[in-house]
């Protein structure tokens, strides 16, 4: 509760610190416009055209349902990855043999590109939300798993001795000694996993030719050669990721990791 109040309290100051980021975004827009002037609107629509397309798009109902569906799918993939990756990672990290044995499997999973997983998923499960969520989990789960594994492997014997010296009860050892350490590994890994699942979800939707979602709209824009709409959709994805990362996750990260150097 205290942490939550601190997050809210620090929020205005945090926003104020964003001027640098805004300056760099505007520089990016300028370069984008320059690219448009050289290559023409079919290849690279100007920021202005894109924003107009975006504005019109935001006034339709379809885009909001598409965004909602895509967000829902990626959240499912993300949540399953964190729960599964966190749980299994801690379990594997608790046993030397399990951690040694799981490493190659994870390397294989991470080595297979998501684009190959979606093809396999389509063959196995057909065109469905299940295929898309499966791909997301396969792509993001290893990231969390490795984080949890490392967190568990690096639990310090010294702190353990210290807590044993006070005859600390098991539950308190879990909440005060083990969990904060493991969480400090799982949390950043989860942020990466969220980014991953957000990127992979659109790709999966596009390849699976589902009728709904941002990926589906992107496919339609492509078939109509409608570059401004395609750019606007890309913009929506980027804005969403930025919102989640900087409005939601970053303030939490600052609060829960303020004990770090």
């Amino acid at each position: 509760m205290n942490a939550f109040i601190n997050i809210i309290k620090d929020f205005p100051r945090y926003l104020w610190s964003g001027w640098g980021a805004i300056a760099s975004l505007f520089l990016f827009l300028a370069l984008w416009d320059l690219g448009n002037q050289f290559n023409g609107s079919l290849v690279l629509p100007s920021p202005q055209e894109t924003f107009i397309a975006l504005w019109q798009m935001l006034h339709t109902v379809e885009i909001w349902t598409d965004v909602a569906i895509t967000v829902e799918r990626s959240l499912w993939g993300f949540v399953i990855s964190v729960v599964l990756g966190g749980g299994l990672g801690v379990l594997a990290g608790s046993f030397a043999t399990a951690s040694i044995m799981s490493r190659p499997i994870i390397t294989v999973m991470m080595g297979v590109p998501p684009i190959a997983w979606i093809i396999l998923a389509l063959l196995w499960f057909g065109v469905s939300d299940g295929s898309i969520i499966f791909t997301l989990v396969v792509a993001s789960f290893p990231i969390v798993f490795v984080g949890a594994l490392q967190g568990t492997r690096t639990l310090e014997g010294d702190l353990n001795d210290m807590s044993n010296s006070f005859k600390t009860p098991l539950l308190m050892r879990l909440t005060d000694v083990y969990f904060p350490h493991v969480f400090s590994y799982i949390f950043p890994a989860s942020i990466s996993a969220l980014g991953m699942s957000w990127k992979v979800v659109v790709m999966s939707e596009l390849l699976a030719s589902t009728p709904t979602g941002i990926g589906a709209s992107l496919a339609v824009a492509r078939s109509h050669f409608d570059s401004p709409v395609a750019m606007a959709l890309v913009l929506i994805m980027v804005i969403f990721l930025l919102l989640i990362e900087y409005v939601f996750l970053e303030p939490i990260k600052r609060e829960v990791e303020q004990w770090r150097n």
Partner: protein
Amino acid sequence: MAQLIIKNLYHKFGATEILADINFSLAQGKVISIVGPSGSGKTTLLHLCGNLLEIVDGEVDNSFSSQAFAFQDARLLPWQTALDNIAFGLKGGGVAKKQRHKLATKMAFKLGLNNDDLAKFPKDLSGGMRQRVAFARALVIKPELMFLDEPFSALDIGLKQELQHLLMGLVVNEKLSIFFITHDLAEAIKISDEILVLDADPGRIVKQIVLDRPRESRDEDYIFNTTRQLLQDPQIISTFELNFKKK
């Protein structure tokens, strides 16, 4: 009266013999020091006596009702403030939050910490401050027996004296017992009732020195002379390999 009795204690890590035939006892209100070179098994002995390691062979009979440790490094939880770190042992003992914060604050003040320090995370405290927090954490549970594993070795002289003074006060007034590990002979002479010299390979007690003079009348001269006397003892010379120059 509570005491710690060690009988025929042996310990091995794999095939390596670490400790052999350790026998001694520590009575309430007494200070016993273990001195010895690195690798003589001092820390292993402390862990065995403090129940942090499982006893394989021998007997450790500990009838003290509570005990606490101070290690060479402070071993604070980096994700908790100094205040919560001090209250750690109390929390484990089931003391309610308000009460344990009150007790922890009081103990922290006794150790020269202030309210600002208590709100800080360990990363923002100096090494000396961290060790103050570690001692506050140990002392706030009012232990009958303290295990000290070279906790003064990285501290400046002033803080070292301050902490030693505080502990000696507790020995006299509260009948605190101390099991002290050090490699500093002078330090051991200053505060102990008894010194055990541990030799390596395997760790065994090769000399037992009882200091008769009351602690408060041990002045610089006494400490200096006793140290010099001990350093000329053949047993000490061979244990610490002080004769390497003559070879």
